[in-house]
Amino acid sequence: MITKLVLNVDDPKKVIRHSTKKLEEEMTNFFKKTETIFKLCLLALFLFLMWAARTYPKNSRLFPEILGAITVLFIIISFIQDFISLRGKKEKEGVKESSPEAPPSDIVEEKMRWMKEVEEKAEDAGFEVLESGLRRKRLLESIVIILVSLGIGYLGGFLLTVPFYFIAFGILHGQKKKAIKYIIIGLAVTAVTYLSFTKLMGVPLLQGLWWELD
């Protein structure tokens, strides 16, 4: 999938990321799907909480019930809003399809040339746009790092978790050839964290099950 970069016309120095139409459509569909699933989960959650509140004393359940009912209503209104906007969009698309006029080829060519130019300028500025698959991969890696770090933190405390974060993110999201740099940063941050939290501020840090630190 090709992604493009577009420069802000008013300020050529300002690089703003834009995606191709295909990517945009894919992302819109993805967001829409996420939104619908999220709303359904919220609906289930609020209904469940209202159900759970039924055994509470009158004063304790009154407010959750009122709030739950109002929120369920909001979610239903939100679904209706989505339905209306979707129908409006389809109607508009129908109007567009019925008009066979395509943009003149010279305009398309000009636009393509301009986008190519812009892409080159943005690349010069060091900006990199990632494909949606790569973005998803990076996100999944981040989630895995965070989840693994919770286990490491539970066992080895901050002493292992802090360098783990820097090394894992550095190697997976940075450049592998700079691994030494990430290790040094991780160890330095661990030392600074220990000194600033424990010695300077007297704030206890996560010890972990394996050892105890003073």
């Binding site: 120095k13 300002k14 690089v15 967001f31 996420t34 939104e35 699933i37 999220f38 709303k39 919220l42 609020f46 909480l49 509140a53 509470y56 004393p57 004063n59 304790s60 009154l62 407010f63 959750p64 709030l67 739950g68 109002i70 929120t71 909001f74 979610i75 939100s78 500025a125 060091g126 900006f127 990199e128 990632l130 973005r135 990076r138 996100l139 890696e141 981040s142 989630i143 965070i146 770090s149 919770l150 933190g153 539970y154 802090v162 974060y165 820097f166 894992a168 993110f169 940075g174 990430y182 940063i185 991780g186 941050v189 964290t193 939290f197 501020m201 704030v203 206890p204 840090l205 996560l206």
Partner: protein, 496 residues
């Protein structure tokens, strides 16, 4: 009140040293997400108790005050507010940072802190006893409606998705109901998890919704927070921009003062309402949320002018407007200064001495902003593979440090994932946070109001203040729908 006598009390080397050390400590705890003013003050408590009351309160007051500015720095640079009071700064502060204008945003923030704070303090020095007396006339119904108004207005201003904002706020209110019921003391929605008995921990939720979810969002991209890859503008540009909007400054100061004087409403509400006000009065509302300096001006000015009012409520009524103010209240009591309207006469030297010291703190904030802003702004250029783990580490360590419970870390991570999903689904977590903050106040005042009337709901529209607040709430909710209709109608009229 003898000003010269008060000044002679404040301007001793011990007090000035306490001010500087407290200021730097406040900056550190403000910058570290999750530590915040409350934890910072609680940690300094044993040190401060050996000082005399005025010096101790100056140390704590300065720490509390400067930590708010520190929180603005992280809100602008990392999309992570140090405290709930910085929530409104995120809305345009972070987009400014993404646009490479972090220096300008930090300049605005420092100027807003100084102007809002000085205005607020001067007015409150002279009018605090009067304002405290007026605020006492607010009953539970009025407080409930102020909170509902705050929730509705913030839901209405976020990206025009009013219903989604309201759903988000409702979720926050529902989270606030976890734990012991404020009226009956019945345990709710804990599902056997003991660590939730005291409710959903606020700082841990804040860390999750802002820091962790932001770290996840950053990890998806390369380069750095600044998408432009370089910094534009300077601290002075921010200062000049700030003074180019005197009406926004004036309105936000008044709003901040008003919300500060209302007990238990707090700085977060003031900042968000001032932001909404700036958006509604703007000729270019479409630029808000995309790095509009006016948004930062409004939120920073209101938050900072609110803080003195917040302290007045804490001092005069013993009702704190925020968690930080609650800690400050307990420190005052530990020093033998019992809050109440009489404190302004019985302990006038300490209270007014503290107010004057806080004016000096504003100058300290400006110096910090002026000297350190350019260095702090460079945070936005650090590569994501370094800044992401740094944000996560500091946030989770802060989350753990509050109660020394690993479950709090898990909770922050869970909230982080939830915040990330919410953003992907087009839901802004800011109304949720405000709902979480105001939830207890809303429910308590709801029950109190019903107790007063024996269960009659008429109390919620009985007084003139209630009626005004109901009208404002309705207007804030239907406003986003009416504005485009009004524009379309005017366009049609123009076309004939």
């Amino acid at each position: 009140m003898d000003i010269y006598y008060i000044l002679s009390l404040v301007l001793t080397w011990q007090n000035l040293l306490a001010l500087v050390i407290g200021g730097f400590a406040g900056l550190v705890v403000g910058i570290l997400p999750g530590i915040g003013p409350s934890a910072g003050m609680a940690l300094s408590f044993p040190i401060v108790m050996s000082m005399n009351p005025l010096t101790g309160l100056i140390f704590m007051g300065t720490m509390y005050r400067v930590s708010n500015y520190g929180g603005s720095i992280t809100a602008i640079m990392l999309n992570t507010p140090g405290d709930a009071s910085n929530a409104a700064t995120i809305l345009d502060g972070f987009p400014m940072c993404e646009n490479g204008q972090s220096n300008v945003a930090l300049g605005i923030s420092a100027t807003g802190a100084v102007v809002g704070g000085i205005f607020g303090l001067i007015i409150l020095i002279f009018f605090s006893p009067l304002l405290a007396e007026f605020a006492l006339r607010f009953g539970p119904a009025e407080y409930l409606l102020v909170a509902v108004f705050a929730l509705s207005i913030i839901s209405a201003v976020i990206k025009g998705a009013t219903i989604k904002g309201l759903i988000s706020a409702s979720l926050g209110l529902m989270f606030a109901m976890v734990g012991y019921d404020v009226i009956a003391g019945h345990l709710r929605f804990t599902f056997g998890m003991d660590f939730l008995e005291d409710g959903v921990p606020f700082i841990q939720a804040l860390v999750g919704f802002f820091a962790i979810s932001q770290a996840l969002a950053l990890s998806e991209t390369t380069l750095s927070i600044s998408k432009v890859g370089k910094l534009a503008g300077s601290f002075w540009t921010g200062l000049i921009t700030y003074f180019k909007h005197p009406m926004v400054v004036l309105r936000s100061t008044v709003l901040g003062l008003w919300f500060g004087v209302l007990p238990a409403v707090g700085q977060s509400t003031a900042g968000l309402v001032a932001y909404a006000d700036a958006l509604k009065c703007s000729k270019h509302p479409e630029t808000f949320g995309k790095g509009e300096p006016v948004g930062v001006i409004a939120s920073e000015t209101a938050t900072n002018s609110c803080m003195p009012g917040d302290l007045v409520c804490t001092i005069a009524l013993g009702i704190p407007g925020s968690v930080g103010a609650a800690v400050f209240l307990s420190i005052m009591i530990a020093f033998g200064i019992i809050p109440g309207p009489l404190v302004f006469t019985e302990k006038a030297d300490v209270i007014y001495g503290l107010f004057f010291a806080l004016i000096l703190t504003q100058i300290f904030i400006f110096i910090i902003g002026f000297t350190l802003a350019r260095y702090l702004a460079r945070i936005s250029l650090i590569p994501n593979e370094i800044i992401v783990p740094a944000v996560i580490v500091v946030s989770l360590l802060g989350s753990y440090a509050i109660r020394n419970m690993i479950l709090d870390v898990f909770l922050s991570v869970a909230f982080g994932f939830l915040g990330f999903i919410m953003k992907k689904a087009g839901f802004n977590p800011i109304p949720l946070i405000l709902g979480l903050v105001l939830g207890e106040m809303v429910e308590r005042n709801f029950h109190r109001a019903l107790m007063i009337t024996g269960g009659s709901y008429a109390i919620f529209y009985h007084s003139i203040v209630c009626k005004i607040l109901i009208v404002l709430t309705i207007l804030s909710l239907i406003g986003p729908f009416l504005t485009p209709m009004y524009r379309r109608a005017t366009q049609l009229v123009r076309r004939g």
